[in-house]
Subunit: 192 residues, 2 copies
Amino acid sequence: MGRWQPGARERLEQAALDLFLEQGFTETTVPQITARAGLTTRTFFRHFADKREVLFAGEELVPERVARLMAEAPPSLGPMELITEGLAPNAAKIFAGRSLDYLLRRRAVIDAEPALHERELRKFALMSKALEQGFRDRGVDDLTAQLAAEIAVTTFRIAVTRWLNQHGDPDLPATINQTLAAMRHLTNTSSA
Amino acid sequence: MGRWQPGARERLEQAALDLFLEQGFTETTVPQITARAGLTTRTFFRHFADKREVLFAGEELVPERVARLMAEAPPSLGPMELITEGLAPNAAKIFAGRSLDYLLRRRAVIDAEPALHERELRKFALMSKALEQGFRDRGVDDLTAQLAAEIAVTTFRIAVTRWLNQHGDPDLPATINQTLAAMRHLTNTSSA
DNA sequence: TCAGTAATGGCACGTCGTGTCATCACTATG
DNA sequence: CATAGTGATGACACGACGTGCCATTACTGA
């Protein structure tokens, strides 16, 4: 691998996040980001497919990690059991290497820009697809696999939001288990 | 209101959908759409915020309709009861005036273009926000309101997908109730 | 020393989306 | 019938986004 100044990708991510916080996502141009990172515009688009993607780098390898974790789980576990037992202890791995401060700053930027929220929803959708395939590989029927995947991702997403809103006060696994408990309570209330 | 050739918005929607099917979303330019509709490029962006929005017009008034329906429901119903009893009979109203053929063609275009999938996810997120507020207005606590809203939207989304995949064979309310039954069965399986 | 590879720089280009002003069609009022 | 007002459209310029293409630079291995 060739080397100029190492860490071009990381410099671009840092410069972009800072500028987005300083002056907003729309008001920040790609040339501004690359200038701060000491690179050129063309290089930015070699590292990230588009301007939004600079905040979601590395998430493309989440699906395979999800698939591996699900394949390693005991085959006896049903889909809801797998979520209850596996979600909390493994969820934090997604944010490995990302500080709470970084996550909070990133959250502020995404919440301020609908276009970034769109991209985030797509990332969750990809995660859901990976979970769905994992459930199917465990012998779960299509509809149940899809529902279980959506429930897992929804629980994860809501728990992360609440966790960040509380500045990480109860840790993420605890928040996930609280959210799961509320989900069980809600869906177990009798109907009509 | 001034009038030239009436139905400019509808002509643009029709021309856009046709062109997206013929040559793809990315390959279709806005000038091509407006030329087929007998208008100019600038006029397109007066009717739709961006190129994607031409496939999602009119959905911005869904939230208020959702809020009204939820306010009219008996206050005694809990959130899960409201979903079970209210989702199926009211869900079809969202597609009022849209033929099954239109929905299928629209589905094909969206499925072929990730950028359009992103926009669709955002629309569902807005629907979820409206449902969440509706639950809170009925006295439901924040977390439960959020979970119930997500469950309702997820069920609706999965049911619509299945319904369209079967070319509308069982009608939408029946498909929704089947999906809801599967959801209840999944979440009621004991854990650990 | 020289060839090969990988990341970057530089440039042209099409498309998107917006700001601005002029123009056209219709309406209301006298 | 005349005239002013209103709302939709046309026309143009412009900045930003994102891509294709080729040259250049730095590192690697023979």
